[in-house]
Symmetry: C2
Subunit: 341 residues, 2 copies
DNA sequence: TTGTATGCGTTATCAT
DNA sequence: ATGATAACGCATACAA
């Protein structure tokens, strides 16, 4: 590598290009940046020189001049990257790859670490900051007065004037319920996750509201709350079947729970989807498509959340500041656990 | 008060600090950067002024002057972030948070996209680049002559003079096998993943070598190859038990496969771990701890890979260039699928 | 149409 | 010990 490095030019500047093209730096700059007041022939000479020298403008210098860095910081609290990578992909798409680069910082659910990252991002003069929370509950904003646009994704800020984008969990509950109703299911139970998560309560709201509109209600009149684990799903499936043998559909609070529910139903000799249809939330590929049968699940649309966050930052940079908590529609993905293949 | 408010609005420069402290910018710079040739009293005045004005040095200007950006690019092909987030965490730790920031770019297994990201990273004058492959096979390097240090993680480069860090898959196979042997298991089968992955063949090598040292071999004399799916695990478990009813241990090629194996064994009435011990690779929390019983699995130690990549980049910056493919030890995590709780 | 001069915010090199 | 000044590389008024 040292040999290769030596042979490569250390750093070719606009000055060099101008010299080769026989013009001044100013003209070279105009030619390269596509400004109109330059003669075609001159422009061609400059571009040829730039090409020949393999000139790449020094973004650092451009940044210093323009005052902004063309970068965005993404602070995530998501330990496994399940949210943050798709969100980052969406943001990359919206920003237009290359035009804006993204610093990814892992705060690991630690406020101190978050503050640290925040400071270093601000010192780097990022043009915006995206905060990805680990759970959907509202949480305190990063800092009272930050001079760049901040957008919260997945977990909303609890301050009114902040801007947040979250999945439409209520709508997700609706979609799942409408799907089950359309299949003719009428005895629906909900094995929910942790009741302290707003994701949980929002989904329950969507489910119960949809049922009520059809004059129905959840088996037992309410959801069963537990934890986000397969074992909870297994245990709860047993309780549900014992309490309400007529159950013909179960909505699980997450794909993990659903996996447990499938296991439990199999142990009980209930076939899915014939006897009981099972649907859940998250659409975590690895869990949903590995299940037997594959899981019908609601996708939380992280990429779309990332895109909206990126667009919001663009708009904020242009002076158009939005506020409030905005929801992004989710998408039902139908598989074998509700509709036999 | 009004003074402070005013200056926080727009970026406060070193010039402002100097003015408040009643010194020149040069002196202010020395004072803040801890250089020795400045009188203690003067330094105190400057630091107080900086504090009062909430001064943050403009990193962009520092970068332009120093010629380097204090950033590293991480290009990943890992769609779900399962590798890249832990690797990024390890790199963050090694770099020392804040000192070095990391651009995360998602190349999505697309060479064009990778080249694009690479160019934009180089234009940003990153001090190093980490490439995280999606599968462990060697693959072509990013570009013949890149002027900054490049380190490959997870998937090695196939060019000798490049530097790569990969999990010790052979060692992982060894560890799993030694564990099973230590439990007294002697009839061991291996339900492997996709045979075209070097991760697969490396693990097989570790397993067979360890068995041979004890005068044993895999049931049937070789591994069963398939895909990285639960369904393959289920199907293969059945085949294995039918072909070799004496089987008392199964090594699965991944946690996904292992989940299928557990399912299959349950259907066949074999209890785990009493009749058959099951162990696998990856230690993907969501799969390993959700299983019944929980999975014994080998952790690929992504954080350690990230740390080593970061350290290697530091060393390369200091002129100490390393080459070759280096392995990082994996770690066996014992759970209920091999040892009854 | 082209070139000259200046500024972006910081650090380093010299004088003083 | 302190300060004036020149880089760093680029973009842009403004002059020619």
């Amino acid at each position: 590598m040292s040999e290769a490095t030596r042979s490569t030019k250390r750093g070719v500047r606009l000055k060099d290009v101008a010299q080769v093209a026989g013009v001044s730096v100013a003209t070279a700059s105009k030619a390269i940046n596509g400004r109109q007041d330059v003669r075609p022939a001159t422009r061609r000479r400059v571009l040829e020189a730039a090409e020949r020298l393999d000139f790449t403008p020094n973004v650092l210098a451009q940044n210093l001049h323009s005052g902004s860095s063309g970068t965005v910081g993404l602070i995530t609290h998501d330990l496994e990257g399940r949210f943050s990578i798709p969100i980052l992909m969406g943001a990359e798409d919206a920003f237009g790859a290359g035009k804006m680069s993204i610093f990814l910082c892992d705060a690991r659910e630690d406020e101190i670490r978050q503050a640290h990252h925040l400071n270093s991002l601000l010192a780097r003069r990022v043009d915006g900051i995206i905060i990805v929370g680990s759970r959907t509950d509202p949480h305190p904003p990063v800092r009272p007065e930050v001079e760049v646009p901040v957008v919260y994704v997945y977990a909303p800020s609890d301050r009114e004037q902040d801007l947040s984008f979250v999945p439409d969990n209520v709508g997700a509950g609706r979609q799942v319920t409408e799907h089950l109703l359309s299949l003719g299911r009428r005895h629906i139970a909900h094995i929910a996750g942790d009741a302290t998560y707003t994701a949980t309560t929002d989904r329950v709201r969507g489910i119960t509201a949809t049922l009520e509109e059809t004059g129905l209600e959840l088996l037992g009149g309410k959801a069963s709350y537990g934890s986000w684990s397969e074992s909870w799903g297994r245990a709860a499936a047993r309780s549900v079947v014992e309490a309400w043998p007529q159950v013909d559909a179960i909505v699980a609070g997450s794909d993990q729970i659903a996996r447990g529910v499938l296991d439990g139903l199999r142990d009980l000799g209930r076939s899915v989807p014939q006897d009981v249809a099972v649907a859940s939330f998250d659409n975590w590929q690895i869990l949903a498509t590995g299940a037997r049968p594959q899981l019908t699940s609601v996708d939380m649309n992280f990429k779309a959340l990332g895109r909206r966050a990126a667009r919001a930052i663009f708009e904020a940079i242009d002076g158009h500041h939005a506020q409030g908590v905005h929801t992004e529609p989710c998408q039902l993905v139908v598989r074998g656990s509700t509709v036999a293949e």
